[in-house]
């Protein structure tokens, strides 16, 4: 495998890894937000002002 092909492979892996990191990171962010809201919803229903 020549140097250019190795670099191509590394850049390809980087692009796929970056894509999945962004997508899964956002999914995790939404999951945390969802859980926080569930708690908030329970609090509002439990302790009406």
């Amino acid at each position: 495998m020549d140097q250019a092909a190795i670099l191509d492979h590394q850049f390809l892996i980087a692009a796929y890894a970056v894509t999945w990191t962004i997508q899964l990171g956002y999914l995790a962010f939404l999951g945390i937000k969802w859980r926080t809201q569930k708690r908030e919803e329970a609090r509002v229903q439990r302790n009406p002002r």
């Binding site: 850049f11 796929y16 956002y26 999914l27 969802w34 509002v44 002002r49």
Partner: protein, 233 residues
């Protein structure tokens, strides 16, 4: 029943993602000119297409909000939730495009970035929708949703400009692969991998769009409940 349908859709989406990955890495051949690096195409182009689609969702949500905010406030809130969900998920996909593009460009062109029309208009699109999200996050008061809807509509005007940019101007970015000049298109052996990844990323996008919509609706309902309780206290 609804839970089962959602579970089924999640399973199908995950299977499509795995199949799309397999097609892109192991089935599609190397590009004759670019070699292996061309495989970034199978993530880069579907991400751009899905981003455009979700910015269109945001546009429809924004127009719907402005049209119904006085006559039907409940429906307006639902439209607003679609607008913010479309904008946010669109930004996520646009971020993928702006991250994978330079990685591809570095190997294909020898540079990470150039200020050509396609790249610049895409960056502007991303910046407009990031400013939309910042506005929603930090502005307060009853006018915030209206201002955001107007900004969302202006932002969507950039989408056709991005799409047409490499047709209207000479760009470093390649000419359109599909629907471009005579002779444009892909080799048959690559089309399958591309279409599978389009479908997979579309399903993935719809899944997180629906989740983001639910989160926004729940947030609106909690706020309404708190406001009601404050009035009654």
């Amino acid at each position: 029943m609804k839970k089962a349908a959602i579970g089924f859709f999640v399973v199908v989406t995950l299977a499509l993602m795995a199949w799309g990955f397999y097609q892109a890495i192991y089935v599609a051949p190397n590009d004759a000119m670019q070699g292996e690096i061309f495989r970034i195409f199978y993530y880069h182009v579907p991400s751009a297409s899905v981003a455009f689609l979700f910015f269109a969702v945001s546009l429809i949500g924004s127009i719907g909000f402005l049209a119904s905010r006085r006559g039907n406030p409940d429906r307006a809130q639902a439209f607003d939730a679609w607008a913010v969900a479309g904008a946010e998920v669109g930004v996520v996909f646009c971020t993928v495009v702006l991250a994978t593009g330079p990685l591809w460009a570095r190997r294909a062109w020898g540079i990470w970035w150039t200020w050509d029309a396609r790249l610049t208009t895409t960056l502007i699109l991303w910046l407009i929708y990031v400013s939309y999200l910042l506005l929603r996050r930090f502005a307060a008061g009853p006018q915030m949703q209206t201002l955001a809807a107007v900004l969302g509509i202006f932002g969507a005007l950039d989408v056709p400009i991005v799409y047409m940019s490499n047709r209207w101007w000479r760009t470093q970015h390649p000419a359109p692969v599909f629907g471009g000049a005579p002779g444009s298109g892909m080799d048959k052996s690559m089309v399958g991998a591309f279409l599978w990844n389009m479908l997979a990323w579309l399903c993935w996008g719809l899944l997180i769009l629906a989740l983001r919509y639910r989160v926004e609706r729940k947030s609106q309902l909690i706020e309404a409940e708190e406001a009601q309780q404050a009035l009654e206290a």
